[in-house]
């Protein structure tokens, strides 16, 4: 624990505390939840938002980056997005309220607000301690989300498309997803909205039971003025396989935390991220993965393209427990810097207590290869298009791992649009 000297609260911290006072009566939850909410805001009041002196937030001084918060009122009606690929079942939250709930065979969906009012086991408002700003703000202010159970043995062909949409203000959503034994399913987790100022916190508890398989694709397009703080808490039981694919395309301050506990032998986590970071965006992905039992694997590959004055961060921590023999964990972070003012901080961390493991981490930071650029131009390809081809080449390798043609096309279209504007 880091000791912080007691500073007066910032405008943002004061606003959050005051907001809680005004709101708590109308936030969903039974008596136990009210207590947890109160405890969360109390932690913020006593400790403030984390500064760079808190190790987990060293490269993302949230106290400074979130100096003010927008008022908790949207500018307008958020609009449902068109499906990202055909045939998905949409579960939509608009400005933090459940709006659309398509039904899916062998999938039970309930609202988080109902679950908080009742006494649903496995659903709570927990956090990771006094410096867990995302967890704390979310616990204090969450309005709704989805509680999803995928039945054991179900092979869900239809992808489930979660949408959290905003039109400014504040959005606090929480999802709890449990994938039953031997089930398989694909989730798209989309965060999008207008360019109005917004503070979004989004916490997801994702549990894969024995032999479950899931593809989870997070697509963050929250707009130029968004502060997007998200947290995924993942548990993988025996032989569970999760592919977690994250694409960041916008936002002003973005922090995505992924906490994974691999607790069953034979489990595998495949984590891929493509971060397109431009203008004055600050984008931080912080991964903390625990291999807690023997014979599990994980691979993490993060590709970043940074331009303008943007700053990116990747903190990748892999912990291997003393008993977790035969762990195989491979982590790589590759960054392309396209402008003189763009920057990227990469901090890989391996904490290994077992002695028969394979763990590797690597990081590269490069510019566009001038020889490659000349070659493409010497074939008549203009500089702008040539740079685009080379940048796309850098991220395409990761995107094409997804296999689903329609999804790849949808993501490549977004990447192309980003490149037109930024590169």
């Amino acid at each position: 624990m880091t000791v912080q000297s007691k500073l007066p609260l910032t405008a943002a911290e004061t606003a959050l505390v005051d907001q809680f006072g005004a709101q708590f009566g109308s936030l969903p939850g039974n008596a136990e939840m009210v207590k947890l909410r109160d405890r969360a805001i109390q932690a913020i009041k006593e400790n403030g938002l984390p500064t760079r002196r808190v190790e987990a937030w060293h490269y993302t001084d949230l106290r400074r980056l979130l100096a003010t918060v927008p008022a908790n009122a949207p500018s307008g009606e958020a609009q449902d997005l068109e499906r990202i690929v055909d045939g998905t079942a949409r579960l939509v939250l608009r400005n933090g309220q459940v709006a659309t709930m398509d039904s899916v065979e062998q999938l039970t969906v309930g609202s988080m607000s109902d679950a908080l009012r009742a006494d649903v086991s496995g659903v709570s408002l927990n956090d990771h301690g006094i410096h867990d700003a995302t967890g704390l703000i979310n616990s204090a202010f969450v309005t709704d989300g989805f509680v999803i159970h995928v039945e054991s043995g179900a092979k869900i062909a239809k992808p489930v498309e979660l949408q959290s949409l905003h039109d400014g203000g504040q959005v606090h959503v929480r999802n709890s997803v449990t994938i039953g034994e031997g089930a398989s399913v694909t989730f798209f987790d989309r965060h999008a909205g207008s360019d109005a100022e917004v503070l979004e916190t989004a916490v997801t508890e994702l549990k894969l039971r024995k032999g479950a398989e899931a593809l989870w694709v997070t697509i963050q397009e929250t707009g130029d003025a968004a502060t997007h703080l998200s947290q995924m808490n993942v548990t993988l039981e025996e032989d569970a396989k999760l592919t977690l694919f994250v694409v960041n395309l916008s936002g002003k301050v973005v922090r995505q935390e992924i906490n994974g506990d691999v607790i069953g032998e034979g489990a595998d986590l495949t984590f891929r991220a493509v971060n397109l970071i431009g203008d004055a965006t600050h984008c931080d992905i912080t991964l903390s993965l625990g291999h807690l039992v023997p014979n599990t694997t994980s691979t993490e590959t993060v590709r970043n393209v940074v331009t303008g004055k943007a700053q990116g961060v990747f903190q990748g921590q892999i912990s291997v427990d003393r008993i977790a023999q035969k762990t195989d964990a491979q982590m790589a972070c590759n960054t392309l810097l396209l402008s003189d003012d763009a920057g990227f901080s990469t901090k890989p961390e391996l904490e290994i207590f077992a002695d028969d493991v394979v763990c590797a981490h690597g990081a590269t930071v490069t510019e566009i290869d001038q020889d490659h650029l000349f070659y493409l131009m010497a074939r008549g390809i203009s500089e702008k298009i040539a740079r685009g081809l080379l940048i796309k080449a850098f991220v395409t390798e990761i995107v094409e791992e997804l296999e689903d043609e329609a999804l790849i096309e949808a993501l490549e279209a977004r990447i192309n649009r980003w490149l037109e504007v930024h590169a």
């Binding site: 020889d371 010497a378 074939r379 008549g380 390809i381 298009i385 796309k392 080449a393 395409t396």
Partner: protein, 251 residues
């Protein structure tokens, strides 16, 4: 078609002068060979023609169809019809060869105000050109030049030349690293493009290539200048006697 007048050029980074008053004239329909010892500036000349900004031109002009190309960037020069077949073609992982070919062909067409190719037409053209160079469609599915042998890379350069139909072809030591069979295939490819409205500059170290791509003129490049010009018999003379005599003669 190409007139190089009193060209002086140096390496941009450290100012070392490489081209020291080069004059060269190549007509449409002509195949001109440029030979010379290592370090004479052969590759530098080809890069300067293509527009590489590692080199700075300090004096002189390069007129292509009467227009000074020194103000044009590499993409503009390519669209104007200049093609450099690289001595060491780049491997570019992540850029699919077919996609690269399509973008290059269509970008050049756009720059010239022509219609873009439809996908079926494009594939047909590629298949035709690739077949004659013994390049399989499988190879073209791979990222650009990745995993190609030296000979395959050179053949891929000639494939690009066939598809882009340039007016001025500059072949930079295309024969380096090629065995006889590859040499024949590449030479056939180059020869098939010979035409009255196309000029080819063949930069080579060895006379052997010139048995297959028979030049109309041969120029000797030494210390950044053309020191002697002649017809194809000059190449045989160099083969027999080496560069020393001719260079001393010029000094």
């Amino acid at each position: 078609m190409l007139e190089i007048k009193n060209l002086h050029a140096r390496i941009a980074e450290d100012g070392t002068e490489i081209i020291k008053g080069l004059n060269l004239s190549v007509k449409a329909g002509e195949v001109a060979a440029i030979m010379g010892p290592n370090g004479s500036g052969k590759s530098t000349l080809s890069y300067i023609l293509a527009g590489r900004d590692d080199y700075e031109v300090t004096e002189g002009e390069i007129l292509y169809n009467g227009e000074n190309i020194l103000e044009m960037d590499p993409a503009e020069r390519a669209a104007a019809g200049i093609f450099l077949a690289f001595q060491y073609p780049m491997e570019i992982p992540g850029v699919a060869t077919m996609q690269f070919l399509k973008v290059a062909m269509n970008e050049q067409r756009k720059a010239r105000g022509e219609d873009e190719l439809t996908t079926p037409d494009f594939i047909r053209l590629v298949k035709e050109a690739a077949g004659s160079l013994e390049i399989s469609m499988e190879m073209l599915k791979r990222p650009l030049n990745v995993g190609f042998s030296g000979g395959e890379k050179k053949r891929a350069e000639i494939l690009q030349m066939k598809l882009l139909e340039p007016k001025l072809c500059v072949l930079d030591e295309t024969d380096s690293g090629l065995d006889i069979d590859a040499l024949k295939i590449v030479s056939d490819g180059v020869n098939s493009l010979r035409s009255p409205d196309r000029a080819t500059i063949v930069i080579t170290h060895y006379q052997r290539l010139l048995d297959y791509i028979v030049p109309d003129t041969v120029h000797v490049l030494s210390k950044g200048r053309i020191v002697k010009s002649g017809d194809k018999s000059l190449a045989h003379e160099l083969e027999a006697n080496g560069y020393a005599d001719i260079i001393n003669e010029a000094a």
